[in-house]
Symmetry: C2
Amino acid sequence: MKLTPAQIAEFEERGFLFLPSLFTAEEMGVLNAEVPGMFAQTRPEVVREKGSDAPRTAFYVQTWNEAFARLARHPRLVEPGMQLLGSDRLYMHQFKINAKAAFDGAVWQWHQDYGTWYEDDQMPAPKAMNIALFLAEANEFNGPLMFIPRSHRVGKLAAGHDVTTTSYPLWTIDNAAITRLVDEGGIVAPKGPPGSVLLFHCNLVHASGSNLTPWSRWIVYLSLNRCDNAIRRFSRPAHIANRDFTPIEMLPDDCLVRYARERRPAAE
Amino acid sequence: MKLTPAQIAEFEERGFLFLPSLFTAEEMGVLNAEVPGMFAQTRPEVVREKGSDAPRTAFYVQTWNEAFARLARHPRLVEPGMQLLGSDRLYMHQFKINAKAAFDGAVWQWHQDYGTWYEDDQMPAPKAMNIALFLAEANEFNGPLMFIPRSHRVGKLAAGHDVTTTSYPLWTIDNAAITRLVDEGGIVAPKGPPGSVLLFHCNLVHASGSNLTPWSRWIVYLSLNRCDNAIRRFSRPAHIANRDFTPIEMLPDDCLVRYARERRPAAE
C-alpha cells in the first residue's frame, strides 16, 4: 500500500486525504463484531459521555483486543503513515475507538491534536499524524469529523484547556481564530461507508457535532508518531499517551481475514 | 401566493414542503438588520442557551418589532398556511426567532410541536403548522433542521417532558420510536440560502444538532393555528403560547420593502 505522489501532495496542501472503502466488508465485519463487547466493559480504558452511560472512547485497545492489535500493525494504515511522516520507525502514540454513540454522542470542540500532545505530553515536533478508519458509515447527520482545510499550515495555535464541556479534557481553540481559519479554508466533512480511511495532519483543526440519530458513528484512530519524536512528559495515563516507543512491525495485508479464519472451528 | 396541487400533495405525503429563495435578498436585508438589536435585549421574551449568554430564542417578536410584525402578516407565508390548514381564519399560536448561534447553538431533541401544544396548551387537534423562514443560510454544518419524512402520519406520539437537556422544556420522543420512524422514513435536512421557506406539519418529528461553526443559523418560525382550534389552557406565558385568537389579516406582498422605504429619509 503506497500513496501516489499526487495523494501525498494533496495531503500536504489540504492537511488530509480521504480513501473511501479501503477495507472490505469482510474485514469490517471482523472488527465490528468485537466492538459492542469492548464498550460494554468497565475498565479505565473505556470513557463514558458526561452525564450518561453511553461510551465515548475506548483507549489502547491494541493491548486488550487481538483483532485491534492486528489493525494497529496493518500495512494499509501504517505504510501510508511512514510515507507521510518520512520515517520507517513509527510508534503508536495513541490508539482508540471513538463511539459517537447513537442519540448520546456529544461534541468534540475545535482543536488540533498536536496542541494536546505538546501541552500535556511534551511531544517535541508536529511529526505525528492521525489515521481514522470508519467502523460505521459517517453521514451528514451522525456527527461526522469536520476539518478546516489548510489549517495545519498555520502551525500550533494558542489553545485553552477545556475541562468542562465534555468528559474528556482537550486543548481547544478560541472562536476568533476559528472564524479566521474558516473564512480562508471553509469546512469539509468527508463522508463514506465503513472501511473508509481518513489520514490527517496533527495540526489540522477539527471538531465534530452531536449525534442525535439512531446511527452510531464508531471510528478507530491510530495516532502515529516518529520514534525520534517520542514524548518527554508522562502526565497522562499510559493508555492515553503511550510510553512504549517500540517501532511498529507491520503484518501481512490479509492479517484481519486470517484472524477470523483461525478462530473459526475447522470444518469437518 | 398559492401552492399548486402538486405542492399540497407533497406536503401531505412527506409532512413538509421546501421553497428555496422565496424572499429576496432585499427583503432579508430588512429583517436581518433588526435581529442583533433584538437578541441583545434583556427581556422575558429573549431566552438564552443553558450555561452561556448566547441567545437561543426571541419569542413573540411581532409585538415588539415592526418589521417582524409585518412578516407575521406576510401573504407569502400566511396564504400557504390557509391552504394547507383549510381555513381563512388562522391566528398566530407562536412566533419566534431561533438563533442557533455560531459556536454556542445547542441541540433541539427529537419532538413533534403538537406534543407540546397538546400537553401544555390543550390545543384540541393537530390542525396547526409551522412555517420557517431562513434568515441565514442553513448548511450541513450549522445545525440545520432535521426531519423524519412521513412521521406526521403516525399521529401524536408518546413523549416525555425534557426539562434538563437545554434551556427550553420540550416534550421529546423516546429512542425506540425514533429508530422505528427513521428506519421507515430516513432523515432529511433541507438546506438553502436566506429567504428559503420550510412549511411543516405540527406532527412531523424533527430535531437539530449543535452549531460549532462561525455561522449563526437564525430562523423565524410562524406557528399558525386555526381559530376554531384555539388552545384551552393557559399554563405557559402568553409570549410563548399566544392567547389572542384574532384572525390574521394579510398585508400586501411588498410590505417588507415598503417598510424599509418608509423609514428611509426622503431624498432631496
